[in-house]
């Protein structure tokens, strides 16, 4: 593959190893986003889901819901755990805490707002089980997650646009989501 430093007359304005790491993590997230999109389609007829319905789903529908939950959590983990920090490292901006990271993403308009992002995290924890929850709360969390899933995919798309537009990563190294 032709890398950025072969194309232009000078060196790229970023660390190539850090960029390669971000690109690899991005591709993993793009796959997770693709899987999440499939899950959104396959659960479309179940939403919005009522607590009572949730308790009486057949095995096949439960599997579809479980796949959706795991894929939602996967994409969120990749964004929060790898991509946000990877992007900041590439910009040589040290972020000390997870709160710093989210604020930095808000500043770059990659996450719409700090509060929105934090809420997605709580929703995820509610359906990935911190404590045994009542069916009403599991259903509420799933319904919120259905809307939130679109938000996660859009966040990844905005991160891509930022990496291309502001850092100068070659667009062909970051597949569209």
């Amino acid at each position: 593959m032709i890398t950025a430093d072969h194309r232009s007359e000078g060196r790229p304005g970023y660390d190539r190893d850090l960029a390669a790491l971000l690109q690899a993590n991005y591709r993993e997230a793009a796959r997770a986003a693709g899987n999440l999109r499939v899950s959104l389609r396959r659960t479309q007829t179940l939403f919005p889901i009522a607590a009572q319905t949730l308790e009486s789903l057949d095995e096949e529908a439960k599997e579809r819901i479980d796949a959706f939950r795991v894929r939602f959590a996967d994409l969120q983990d990749l964004l929060a755990g790898k991509l946000f920090r990877g992007l900041l490292r590439l910009e040589e901006e040290p972020a000390l805490s997870q709160l710093d990271v989210i604020h930095a993403m808000e500043k770059r308009a990659i996450v719409p707002s700090f509060d929105d992002w934090k809420q997605l995290r709580v929703i995820r924890n509610a359906f990935m089980h911190e404590y045994p929850e009542e069916a009403a709360e599991r259903a509420e969390a799933l319904n919120l997650a259905q809307t939130g899933a679109i938000g996660l995919i859009e966040t990844l798309a905005r991160l891509r646009a930022y990496a291309v537009g502001h850092i100068g990563l070659p667009p062909d190294t970051l597949p569209l989501v």
Binding site: S97, K118, I123, L144
Partner: protein
């Protein structure tokens, strides 16, 4: 109990904004134990509110990030109409009550301004 005293008023205010002025709150887990150090902030809340509990919990955690920063806060909520689960009983038994229920007959509606 190991919470900085200045965090209590904003903590209780945020809980009552989200879960009603009748909400009661206990601090339990390692923060309720003076002999331990550090640890998550575990809160147990009893409320008369029964709907949108996940969204409310999210709203409260966002507000509490402004009080406790990066420290991890865990919230267990029980609407009073629901039976006491083991975690609720443990929280009540070993926890420290931070805010009692408003006195009966007291105005229970939230004020529109904070």
């Amino acid at each position: 109990m190991r919470l900085e005293p200045e965090t209590l008023p904003p903590l209780v205010a945020a809980i009552r904004t989200v879960f009603g002025s009748d909400a009661e709150v206990w601090l339990f887990g390692s923060r309720a134990d003076d002999s331990q150090r550090g640890g998550d902030i575990d809160l147990y809340i009893e409320t008369d509110i029964e709907t949108h509990l996940v969204a409310r919990r999210a709203q409260l955690l966002v507000a509490l990030a402004g009080v406790f920063g990066d420290r991890k806060v865990d919230i267990v909520v029980r609407p009073r109409t629901r039976r006491l689960a083991p975690i609720h009983r443990i929280a009540r038994r070993q926890g420290v009550r931070l805010a009692e229920r408003a006195t009966p007959g007291h105005e229970t509606r939230e004020h529109p301004t904070n």
